[in-house]
Symmetry: C2
Subunit: 291 residues, 2 copies
């Protein structure tokens, strides 16, 4: 089977053995935002054509490729849902020379009935926690997800717009003018995390990023890391992982920062296995209605 | 006396009688960000040259003109401070043909010793509340100020980066893509204010702006107003005006929105008199060390 994790900015494809072992892999920057004129079929053929020519016939896709901006829009499946529920809700996508199925995203609602959605993360969570009795996962990013898994099924989740807020504040406010590029300054990041736990609303603490710089108490090389710690600190505090173990699923760099913030809040960060999306595609594909 | 309220994006000049009455006024878009090559003296002469030729000799300036990016940098005066304290701390600015003095900004520190600063607002507050025994003022804007006045002096203040955060989220995140321009939709604004009072951190509620739109529960013409209400609602909740009267100093449009949010939180909004900066410049200038 071929698994394709097709997101907004990149595409990752895996050729997998029946036991889920990854035989070959490809990654390309052809995320759905970079595919013009709806040329999704041609893009997919370019990426996995060699594997198809070699006899593969089953393709399972997940991610933003199933959104309104993607190839075919898949209706969200409501929580709770696990690998079997997702396998039963796969959407066929017309494609010459292979059977292509699409994993739907998931929806949930918070206590005020505001909708929650995810696309792609459900597959990574299944790949990481399908065997978990009860677990919490965090998928940091532009739109960070905090997920509760019960008996291997995604029971509920909440989204924090942390990464995108950071990028917007950095690129489009006066705060960015006081920041230089560079690797994360961990001491400044930790100061930001600690600041999130002090009195004062986030909107007020943001102005402190400016005044600390103005008074020489935060260097230009530290400001971006401090702001990152402030926002991630707020997210982690709000998600309240104190006393909980949190499975971190994402890039190693971002997961390492979240691990620091979770530890600072009394939680226990757990590193996730790599290739979570490939594992999830395998588990969902195992029971997919292939013809 | 001539009073000049010289901010980041605009300059407002007032020719005032000895009793503070405004005899004439000018407004121009030559805020300090629009003055090139440090041509502040030439800009000022262009704006008030006719009044100088008519015999005026005293010029009092307030605002960002006293910042590092302005004409002369004035050290912040620490709180508490009132009109007399500001008058005693005026900074002379070299200028041919008139005595020019500059009102310094104010500084404060929050409970965690993070600095707070203002430039220009102190003059508007003095102009509005110099006679107040004990009052709270809110100056909404890019960097909203909440100020406690005791016995006519500015005792303490806090800044919320609400307006600039709104602009950044609108211009630089996915939320802006779902928004159309137009006048504020008051019903959507009120929904955002109410949402700020519900469970969930601001970073999570921001994602709700997207999902409500995705599920057809927030129209494109409503989204910006809802986001504005959400952010202003968070600010007003954090400033806790319940049971308090709040003097609103700022543009009528923005003050009207803050008034709605303050009422929704159980506070009592009070409209401020117009020309707060001119009144403050008059009160400070009354005891200035003119030669």
């Amino acid at each position: 089977m071929i698994g394709v994790d097709w997101g907004t900015s990149s595409l990752r494809a895996y050729r997998m053995a029946a036991d889920g072992r990854i035989r070959d892999r490809r990654a390309s920057p052809t995320g759905i935002l970079h595919v013009t004129d709806g040329a999704f079929a041609a893009t997919l053929r370019r990426e996995i054509g060699a594997w198809l020519a070699d006899g593969e016939r089953h393709v399972l896709m997940s991610g933003m490729i199933g959104s309104r901006q993607g190839w075919v829009e898949a209706t969200y499946l409501p929580c709770p849902a696990g690998a079997a529920d997702l396998a039963a809700a796969l959407l066929p996508v017309p494609f010459d020379g292979a059977q292509v199925l699409l994993v739907p995203g998931l929806s949930d609602a918070d206590e005020a009935d505001t909708p929650e959605v995810m696309r792609g993360e459900e597959t990574q969570i299944v790949g990481t926690l399908a065997d978990a009795a009860d677990a919490i996962a965090c998928l940091p990013g532009s739109h960070s997800k905090w997920v509760r898994v019960i008996a291997g099924r995604i029971n509920a989740f909440r989204t924090y717009m942390t990464g995108e807020t950071f990028a917007a504040l950095r690129s489009a406010t006066i705060l960015g003018r006081m920041m230089t590029d560079g690797p994360t300054d961990l001491a400044a990041f930790d100061r930001g995390v600690a600041r999130a736990g002090e009195a004062g609303h986030l909107l007020r603490q943001l102005f402190g990023v400016r005044t600390l710089g103005l008074f020489g108490r935060l260097a230009e090389g530290e400001s971006a890391s401090y702001l990152s710690g402030l926002l991630i600190g707020h997210e982690v505090r709000a998600a309240r992982p104190a006393g909980e173990s949190v499975h971190l699923i994402g890039t190693p760099e971002l997961c390492a920062l979240y691990a620091r913030a979770i530890l600072a809040q009394g939680g226990t960060p757990l590193p996730a296995a790599p290739d979570a999306a490939a594992s999830g595609l395998h588990l969902i594909g195992r029971t997919a209605p292939w013809t």
